[in-house]
C-alpha cells in the first residue's frame, strides 16, 4: 500500500536501527507521546531493535486512556436516558467508568451507536427529530476539528436535538506537565504527528526551548518512529533541545489553518482532568459560550458530577513515563482487557493493552 509499505521496509528499518546504535553513547529516556506510536512500537517490535541505552516510555496520548472516569459515568448516564441516541467512537464502549461501561448501558437497553465521524450524528439527528442525539466528543487535537465542524453545522442547520459531551485534551500542556514533575525522567519526546498535522509545530518550539528538551514531531510507521528516535538521540548526544519535524510529508509548520480557525470558534481552552494524571490547567477544550446550547454536560445537568478512579491502577505513572505496564501488580491478573481496572488496558492504543497483547510472556 502506497505511503505505508515503503515505511515498513525491513532493510530501511535495519539501517535506521544501526544508525541509532552508532549515535548512542549514553543512556537516554525517550517518550513517544501518542498511543498510535506506542501501538506501532509494540506491534512491530521496534523497541527490541533499539540499543539497550535507550528506554522508550509510553506517553499520555491515547484519548481513550485519559478520558476521566466521571466522563465515562456521564456518558453512561446520558445514554441510559429514554429518548437519547448516544453515539461514540467504537473503542470508548469498553472503557470502565466507576459504575460500568457503555457496553453495559447498551445491554441494558440504551440506543448506542458506533459512528466513524461526528458528522454521521447530524444525519441521525435529522432523521430522528423526536430523539436527542448525543456524541461523545473525546480525543486530542486530531478529532477536535471534526467535532467542531459537527457543532458548527448543527447550528447552521438549526438542529435542536444534537449535542456534544466534550472531553477534549491537548498535547502541549501534557508535555509541560510531565516535564514540570519533580519525578520526571523523560529526556526527549516523539511528538504526535497527526496532532501536529492539524496544529502545526509552532507550540512546540517554545516548549523545547523552555525545558531544553528535544521534541521531534514523528509519524506512525516503523521507519518514521525509528527516524524520530534517531533525530531525538542525535539532539541529546549533541546537547541540543529543539523542535524538529520528522513527519514533514504530513506536517507543515503552520498546520491546518482552516481547522484551527474552526476550533477557535467552537471551542475554548479549559482546565481538564486527565485519567490517572489529575487536573492539568488549560489542557483541554470545552464548548465556547456561544455554543453552550450544544453542550450535553449542561443540557443534562451533569457539570458538577465527579467520580474516583480505581486505587490500584497505576495508569497515571505509566502515562507519565514513571512506570511500565509490567511494573503493575495487577497487570494480567486483576487487570486484563476482558476486565480492565484502568483505561490503558482497554484501548488498542493503551500501553497496558499493547503489552498484554504482545508482551504477556515476559510478565
Amino acid at each position: 500500500m502506497k505511503y505505508m509499505d515503503e515505511y515498513r521496509d525491513e532493510e530501511g528499518v535495519a539501517k535506521l536501527a544501526e544508525a541509532i546504535q552508532r549515535a548512542v553513547t549514553r543512556p537516554w529516556v525517550v517518550m513517544e507521546v501518542c498511543g498510535g506510536q506506542t501501538h506501532a512500537i509494540v506491534k512491530f517490535g521496534l523497541d527490541e531493535l533499539l540499543p539497550k541505552q535507550i528506554t522508550l516510555v509510553h506517553g499520555p496520548g491515547c484519548p481513550v486512556c485519559v478520558t476521566p472516569v466521571e466522563m465515562i459515568d456521564k456518558a453512561v448516564q446520558i445514554a441510559a436516558r429514554p429518548g437519547v441516541v448516544f453515539c461514540s467512537f467504537g473503542d470508548m464502549l469498553r472503557v470502565p467508568g466507576s459504575r460500568g461501561d457503555l457496553f453495559g448501558a447498551k445491554a441494558a437497553g440504551a440506543d448506542l451507536r458506533v459512528v466513524y465521524s461526528p458528522l454521521d450524528c447530524l444525519k441521525i439527528a435529522a432523521e430522528n427529530p423526536a430523539k436527542q442525539v448525543v456524541f461523545f466528543g473525546v480525543g486530542f487535537e486530531t478529532t477536535a476539528p471534526a467535532n467542531a465542524m459537527a457543532v458548527h453545522l448543527a447550528r447552521e442547520k438549526g438542529l435542536k436535538n444534537f449535542s456534544l459531551l466534550v472531553s477534549h485534551v491537548l498535547v502541549p500542556p501534557a508535555i509541560d506537565a510531565i516535564l514540570s514533575s519533580p519525578r520526571n525522567r523523560v529526556q526527549g519526546f516523539l511528538a504526535a504527528g497527526h496532532v501536529c498535522a492539524v496544529m502545526g509545530t509552532e507550540e512546540y518550539h517554545p516548549l523545547a526551548a523552555k525545558w531544553k528538551v528535544p521534541i521531534v514531531v514523528t509519524g506512525f510507521e516503523p521507519m518514521d518512529i525509528l527516524e524520530g528516535v534517531l533525530m531525538t538521540v542525535r539532539q541529546l548526544e549533541e546537547g541540543r533541545g529543539e523542535c524538529e519535524n520528522q513527519y514533514a510529508r504530513a506536517v507543515r509548520r503552520g498546520g491546518n489553518l482552516g481547522a484551527q480557525a474552526l476550533m477557535r470558534k467552537v471551542f475554548k481552552v479549559v482546565d481538564r482532568k486527565w485519567r490517572g494524571v489529575g487536573e492539568i490547567p488549560m489542557s483541554g477544550y470545552g464548548l465556547a459560550d456561544e455554543y453552550a446550547a450544544f453542550d450535553a454536560d449542561k443540557i443534562y445537568g451533569l457539570s458538577g458530577y465527579t467520580a474516583a478512579e480505581d486505587a490500584e491502577c497505576i495508569s497515571g505513572d505509566v502515562m507519565r513515563g514513571n512506570a511500565k505496564p509490567l511494573d503493575c501488580q495487577a497487570f494480567g491478573t486483576r487487570c486484563t482487557p476482558e476486565k480492565p481496572l484502568g483505561a490503558p488496558m482497554v484501548s488498542s492504543e493503551g500501553a497496558c493493552a499493547a503489552y498484554y497483547r504482545y508482551r504477556r510472556q515476559e510478565a
Binding site: E10, V13, A14, G139, T143, H194, Y356
Partner: protein, 355 residues
C-alpha cells in the same frame, strides 16, 4: 436492489403467498398459513433434496463402515445481504466447512429458520434460494427443518440454524492432537475479506471497489489435499477471531509453539487498506471460506499445489511452521520488519479506534 428482489420473486415464485408480501405471526402458528409457507416457499426452495416421505423427521441411510460427523451452527449476521453473499450462503457453507475441517464429507443439513414478523417474503425467498445454490455447490442436501416466527422487534429479520451430518472415510484422522513439531502451516487464500465486506456495509463505508465475502464451501479443497496423498494432520477454518484465534487454539490444545511470518500471510491490498482505516488487524478478521492446514513439512509443496489448482484458492500460501513443544502454547509472529512478537488471541471483538 428492490427491483432485482421483485424479479427473482416474480420469476421463481409466482405463488399464493403473494397475498402476504411479508412474514406474519400467523405463518408460524401451525395452521394453514404455516403449511402454505412451508410447502410453497420453503419446500419449493429445497424441492427434491429430502429423500422419502414428509414426516416429523428425515430418515436417512448412512453409508456402511464410515464414522459419522455431526455439527451445528447458528447464523445471525447483520445485514442478511452483503457483497458477494447472504446469510443463506453462510448458513450452508459454515456448517459444511465445520464438517470438512474434521475430514468429513458433508452429506445432509437441517435448516431451522427464526423469522421476524414483517420480514419481506421476497427476502426470505432470496435467502432460501441462496441456501439451495450453496447446498448444490457443496453437494449436500437440506433434508429437514423447522420454522418459527417471532414478534416484530424480537429478531433481526432472519436467523438460521443449520445442523450438518457428514461421513469420515475409513482411516482418516484429522485432529488437533495430530499437529506435531515440524508441521507446515498453510492457508488456502487471502485473509480478511468476509469480515471487511460485512464491516463495510454495516458501517456504510464505501471503497473504490467493493470487497466481497470469501464465503465458499471447503470440501473440494480438503478432498483435493487427500487426493494428492497429503497426510493432513489438522484443519481449522478461520472464522470468528480469524487466523490468530485458530492458531492459538491449536497451540493451546497441543501445548506447542507455532511460528508465523506476517509477510507470508496473503492479504489483498483493498482489505489491508480497509483494515488500516478502521484500525483492524487482518489476522483477527473473520473469513468464511478460508482454513489453515497443518501438514508434514515434506508434503507442504504438494499440498500447496493441490490447493492452488482450485478456483478461488490460487493465493494459497505457506505461512509458518510448528516449532516444537511449549507448555504455554504460544504463537510467535515475525513482524513485517523482521522482529518476533506474540500473536495473541483477541479479547472480545475488534473495535474501530478513534484516531
Amino acid at each position: 436492489m428492490t427491483d432485482k428482489k421483485t424479479d427473482i420473486y416474480d420469476v421463481a415464485c409466482p405463488l399464493p403467498i403473494s397475498d402476504y408480501p411479508v412474514v406474519t405471526l400467523a405463518h408460524g402458528g401451525g395452521g394453514r398459513l404455516m403449511h402454505q409457507l412451508i410447502e410453497t416457499v420453503i419446500g419449493r426452495a429445497f424441492a427434491g433434496m429430502a429423500p422419502g416421505e414428509q414426516h416429523d423427521s428425515a430418515v436417512l441411510e448412512p453409508p456402511a463402515g464410515q464414522r459419522l460427523a455431526l455439527t451445528s451452527d447458528s447464523f445471525v449476521v447483520r445485514p442478511a445481504f452483503f457483497p458477494g453473499g447472504s446469510i443463506g450462503h453462510l448458513a450452508v457453507n459454515g456448517t459444511v466447512n465445520d464438517l470438512a475441517m474434521s475430514g468429513a464429507v458433508p452429506r445432509w443439513l437441517t435448516c431451522s429458520l427464526i423469522l421476524e414478523e414483517g420480514l419481506p417474503m421476497a427476502d426470505l425467498w432470496r435467502v432460501l434460494q441462496d441456501m439451495r445454490t450453496a447446498a448444490e455447490a457443496a453437494h449436500v442436501a437440506i433434508v429437514t427443518g423447522d420454522t418459527k416466527v417471532v414478534d416484530k422487534g424480537k429478531g433481526d429479520g432472519i436467523y438460521i440454524n443449520t445442523a450438518g451430518v457428514g461421513f469420515v472415510p475409513a482411516g482418516r484422522v484429522v485432529a488437533p492432537s495430530r499437529v506435531a513439531a515440524g508441521d507446515a502451516i498453510l492457508v488456502n487464500g487471502d485473509l480478511g475479506r468476509h469480515g471487511m465486506a460485512i464491516m463495510a456495509v454495516r458501517e456504510g463505508l464505501s471503497f473504490e471497489s467493493a470487497i466481497e465475502t470469501d464465503c465458499a464451501p471447503l470440501t473440494a479443497a480438503v478432498e483435493a489435499l487427500f487426493a494428492a496423498g497429503v497426510d493432513v494432520h489438522c484443519l481449522r477454518d478461520l472464522t470468528r477471531g480469524g487466523l490468530s484465534s485458530c492458531l492459538n487454539e491449536i497451540a493451546w490444545a497441543g501445548k506447542l509453539a507455532l511460528e508465523v511470518r506476517e509477510r507470508a500471510v496473503p492479504v489483498r491490498e483493498d482489505v489491508k487498506a480497509a483494515c488500516e482505516i478502521l484500525g483492524f488487524d487482518p489476522l483477527y478478521v473473520a473469513n468464511e471460506g478460508r482454513f489453515a492446514a497443518f501438514v508434514p513439512e515434506s508434503q507442504a509443496e504438494r499440498a500447496l499445489a493441490a490447493l492452488r489448482q482450485m478456483p478461488g484458492f490460487e493465493q494459497a500460501a505457506l505461512i509458518g511452521t510448528v516449532k516444537g513443544p511449549d507448555p504455554r502454547g504460544k504463537v510467535h509472529l515475525t513482524s513485517k520488519v523482521g522482529v518476533a512478537r506474540v500473536l495473541d488471541m483477541i479479547s472480545g471483538e475488534q473495535l474501530p479506534r478513534i484516531c
